[in-house]
Structures are given as structure tokens and as C-alpha cells.
């Protein structure tokens, strides 16, 4: 049996959640004061995901950078692999919101897309 401590992010209450795991499965969530807390704890413990937002250099334009993001959230454990995959990647002007800057970043199956307009 293993326990994990989490802070719920759904509202300013910030309930301290204690998740009890048995053989990797969630057996019990304690500390929440509403159902959203339990749902958050189950996702966060079993399959946490994050959206990565960063920049890549722009070539052939007036601005220095292009802001980019993962088109969908990626597994939390892959965040630094995605950032590493972007090292050396550039984008050539013009760039439009939604343009794919790097396909299938770090084998996640998720593309990196531009989030700004650059001429």
C-alpha cells in the first residue's frame, strides 16, 4: 500500500488530498470537500498530463521568437523530453497560429504548433 499527497487545483480551497494506492490502483481518496477533488486525484495519480508552452527561434522574420505549444496535453513525465526535442528547431516566417512546428514531439504522438502570428 502506498499513499500520495496532492493539492487539489480546482478552486481556491486547495484541499490537501491523500490518495491511497493498492497495486498501482487508486483504493481511496481522502481530504476532498467535493466530488471534483476525487476526480482530480484519480487522474493526477494514474495519468497526469501537462500542456508544454515554449518558444523556438524565428528565421527570416522581424521578431526573434515564435511561441509554440503541444497541440494536446502530454504525459507529465514527457515534459522534458518534449523540450529536448525542440532544441535546434526553428520556424521560418511567415508563421500562423496552428502551424505545425514539430510533428510527433518525442514520440508522444502530439505535434508542436505555433501560437502566434509572425510575418
Amino acid at each position: 500500500m502506498e499513499t500520495r499527497e496532492l493539492t487539489c487545483i480546482n478552486c481556491p480551497m486547495g484541499c490537501q488530498l491523500t490518495v491511497t494506492l493498492e497495486n498501482g490502483a487508486v483504493a481511496k481518496v481522502a481530504g476532498q470537500t467535493c466530488p471534483r477533488g476525487e476526480a482530480y486525484a484519480r487522474t493526477e495519480v494514474t495519468a497526469p498530463v501537462r500542456t508544454v508552452t515554449t518558444t523556438v527561434p524565428l528565421t527570416g522574420g522581424t521578431a526573434a521568437t515564435v511561441s509554440v505549444k503541444t497541440a494536446a496535453p502530454v504525459p507529465k513525465g514527457k515534459v522534458f523530453a518534449v523540450l529536448d526535442a525542440l532544441k535546434g528547431v526553428t520556424a521560418a516566417a511567415p508563421v500562423h497560429i496552428g502551424d505545425v512546428v514539430l510533428p510527433n514531439a518525442a514520440g508522444t504522438g502530439v505535434d508542436i504548433v505555433a501560437t502566434c502570428e509572425r510575418q
Binding site: 508552452t53 515554449t54 518558444t55 497560429i97
Partner: protein, 422 residues
């Protein structure tokens, strides 16, 4: 020759753009947006993280994407945007004087003005941190601009003072760029940032949040070499013997935002000493008739979605002002007093005759409170009691106002908003 516009909007950030779109929808014929930067969108352009737009667009966007949607909406007839244009002054007669490199100095006559200048960061000079003035001390927003827009890293090892959302976001941003963030020190016993940011920007990367701590010394003559952090007592004074030095080359300050009201003050607009923004009535009109305010120049918001909502209301009211030829609302104007835990309210004056139903009254509290009733009273008699499980200074609160609450109010009546026991 003086140009004429129905509405002149000072600032082309999220507030100015939402005001422009709403004013056009409300029938304003000619709208001019004056923006100091070379592009529209304001601070959103450097806020490349996601989390914007959940309320307004029903999806999670980054700052540039959110700004891009509004920039697309202002295109088209009826709205003219002049970037690279600095407003120097406006007057009670609603003339606006500005300068740019195409027209030089020029004056515009406005039917109504919407103030949407946003806010600035509180600088180091406002903090009285002892020590030298080496390179490596940045406001969090400056560091954000350097990394996200200029593509330059401000340092390698950082301490962050202040746990406002920009500081939290920058802790993660620096970590993602390969820097080490030693700690975030917060003077207060609670963070002013959103829980989501504390978890996803600090906890995810094991960055300690030191509550009731502050920076007491900065070492280094040419460049920051170390930053000393100490615990503070209930009086917020450093406790001797608790000092800890962090070797680092960078100190970021995320210690509050100040509405940028130099133009408003010079024009004679009444400014609230609590918010640093204009005092406005239920129509978001300042003490100068026909001059409206919205967004962070009015009071600092935590979510851009609420800025857009407020600014749209300001745009509609400005359009109505022009349409009605400047005629004010009939009936009493009731001052709103914030008390018992409520720091301020926007609006600060309610004219029941002009009140749109469910118009939001926004406010902040001065501490963390649990299980309280937000109470609206007219002449001491409660007209609404809204229960809240938690209220924190970092989260703006909203009460939808109802005109019927004020139906018995007379010219001398007063409105109070306070926290009461359940």
C-alpha cells in the same frame, strides 16, 4: 485639423480590444484604438503559457492565441487601430492628444473615451531591499519578455520574491529553459497566486514556496552573486537568525501590479487609493463624464476572461453615452462602502436607474476567510447574503447586482458590502 471619433480607446490590449468590439456591436459608428506598442494584444503577447479563455471562449488558449482572436475581431469597418502611438494627455472636454512617427503630434475629439491602459509591475525601488544594485534583478514580467519575445535568458540560477501568478509562471518557464530556481519567497502567510499555478509551476518541479519569508540582502557588485532570504514574523519584520543565503545570479520580483493612471490623474479623474484605479459607477464611468475605464487600469484582475467581460460592458456604456448625447441617468447615485474584510468594490457608486440587471459588482478581500456571507446592505439593511466557503485576496469575487435591491433607496442612501458570519 482635429479628427473626430465616437469613441477613442486608450490601449490596445485585451481590455481595449474587447471594448472596441462591444462598442461597435452596440452601434458606435467610429472607434479609434490608440496603442503604444507596435502590435495589438498588450501583455498577452508575452504570456505564452496556457490557461486563458476557459470562461470567455470555453477552451484553453495561450495568451497570444487569446489576443489573436480579439485582434481578428477588431478588423473590419468601424474600428481603426493605430499602433506605435503614445497618448500624451486627455482632457475633460474629451480631447485626446497623441504622438506617433507618421502624424507627429495630433489631437482627436472623442464623443466618449475608454481608458484601457493596463498596469505596470511594482519595481524594486518600491521594496527597500538593502544591498547593491547589480545586474540580474528583474521584474518577473521583464524576464518573461526577455525569454518569450526577445529569446534571451536573463540568468541561470534564480530566486523569486513574491508568489504572484507571473512569478509562479516564470519559475516554471526558467526551469523549462534549463535554469535552476532555488525558491519562491512570499512575504505574506498565503500566496497571491492561483492554486493551479502553485501546483503546476512549483510543486511539479520541487521548487519550495517559502511563505512568510522575504529577501533581506542582495550580494554582488557587478552581477547578483547571492540572495539572502529570512523568515518574517506576524509584523512582517525579518526574524534575526533565520537568514539563508542562496548563491544565484538572478532575482525576479513578482510583488504586485499597479494600474497605470498617469494620464487619468493629469486629466483630473478621481483615483481610488485602494485600487490605484479610477472610481467608477455601475456603468464603469469615471468621475469625468463620458470617460470610462476597464481592465487592469481600473483594478488588477487575475483572469483575462473577466477583463474582456468588464471591457465589453465599458464599450457598451460608452456607445450608449454617445448615442444619448451625454445625458446622465436620473435618480440617486449611491456610494458603495467596502468594509469588514472587503477591501474595495468596483463599482464604487451605483445609480439604480442605470443599473443593468446582473451587472457584476467585483471586489477583493484583505485576508483568507472561510465560511462567510458576502452581504450587500442598503442603509444597514441586508438586501443580499451570498455564502462563500472560501475567500482569498488572490481571487477576485463577483456579486451579480439586482436593481430590485435598491428600489427603496433614497438620495441619501448608502450601500455597504461586507463579510458577515454565516
Amino acid at each position: 485639423m482635429t479628427e473626430r471619433y465616437d469613441i477613442v480607446i486608450i490601449g490596445g490590449g485585451p481590455a481595449g480590444l474587447a471594448a472596441a468590439v462591444a462598442a461597435r456591436e452596440a452601434g458606435a459608428g467610429s472607434i479609434l484604438v490608440l496603442e503604444r506598442d507596435t502590435v495589438l494584444g498588450g501583455i498577452l503577447n508575452q504570456c505564452i503559457h496556457n490557461g486563458f479563455g476557459l470562461h470567455h471562449f470555453g477552451e484553453e488558449l495561450t495568451g497570444p492565441e487569446y489576443a489573436g482572436r480579439f485582434a481578428a475581431q477588431v478588423r473590419g469597418p468601424g474600428i481603426e487601430c493605430r499602433c506605435g502611438t503614445m497618448v500624451l494627455a486627455f482632457g475633460a472636454g474629451r480631447t485626446v492628444t497623441a504622438v506617433n512617427d507618421r502624424q507627429g503630434l495630433f489631437t482627436v475629439q472623442a464623443g466618449a473615451i475608454v481608458l484601457a491602459m493596463g498596469c505596470r509591475e511594482r519595481p524594486r525601488g518600491a521594496l527597500n531591499i538593502p544591498g547593491f544594485r547589480p545586474a540580474g534583478i528583474y521584474s518577473a514580467g521583464t524576464a518573461q519578455r526577455l525569454i518569450n519575445i526577445e529569446g534571451k535568458l536573463p540568468g541561470r540560477e534564480a530566486v523569486i520574491l513574491g508568489s504572484g501568478d507571473i512569478g509562479l509562471i516564470m519559475a516554471r518557464r526558467l526551469t523549462w529553459e534549463g535554469c535552476r530556481v532555488h525558491a519562491v519567497a512570499e512575504l505574506m502567510p498565503y500566496s497571491g497566486g492561483l492554486k493551479r499555478n502553485i501546483v503546476q509551476c512549483l510543486d511539479d518541479y520541487g521548487i519550495p514556496l517559502l511563505l512568510s519569508h522575504t529577501v533581506v540582502r542582495i550580494e554582488g557588485r557587478e552581477r547578483v552573486q547571492s540572495v539572502t532570504v529570512a523568515a518574517v514574523g506576524p509584523d512582517r519584520a525579518p526574524i534575526p537568525g533565520t537568514e539563508k543565503a542562496y548563491p544565484c545570479d538572478t532575482l525576479l520580483l513578482s510583488v504586485g501590479l499597479l494600474p497605470e493612471n498617469e494620464l487619468s490623474r493629469a486629466a483630473g479623474v478621481d483615483i481610488s487609493p485602494v485600487t490605484g484605479g479610477p472610481t467608477v459607477n455601475e456603468s464603469l464611468e469615471t468621475s469625468l463624464p463620458g470617460v470610462f475605464a476597464c481592465g487592469n487600469v481600473l483594478h488588477v484582475h487575475d483572469l483575462v476572461d473577466y477583463v474582456s467581460e468588464e471591457a465589453a460592458a465599458a464599450g457598451r456604456h460608452a456607445a450608449a453615452y454617445v448615442r444619448q448625447g451625454g445625458a446622465g441617468a436620473a435618480g440617486p447615485a449611491l456610494p458603495v462602502r467596502a468594509q469588514n474584510g472587503v477591501r474595495y468594490t468596483v463599482p464604487a457608486v451605483i445609480r439604480p436607474a442605470a443599473l443593468a440587471d446582473k451587472a457584476p459588482l467585483r471586489f477583493r478581500v484583505d485576508n483568507v476567510y472561510r465560511d462567510k456571507c458576502v452581504t450587500v446592505a442598503v442603509d444597514g439593511a441586508p438586501v443580499a447574503r451570498l455564502r462563500r466557503r472560501i475567500l482569498t485576496p488572490g481571487e477576485m469575487e463577483t456579486v451579480p447586482l439586482q436593481r430590485q435591491w435598491f428600489q427603496n433607496a433614497g438620495p441619501q442612501s448608502r450601500v455597504t458590502v461586507s463579510l458577515e458570519e454565516v
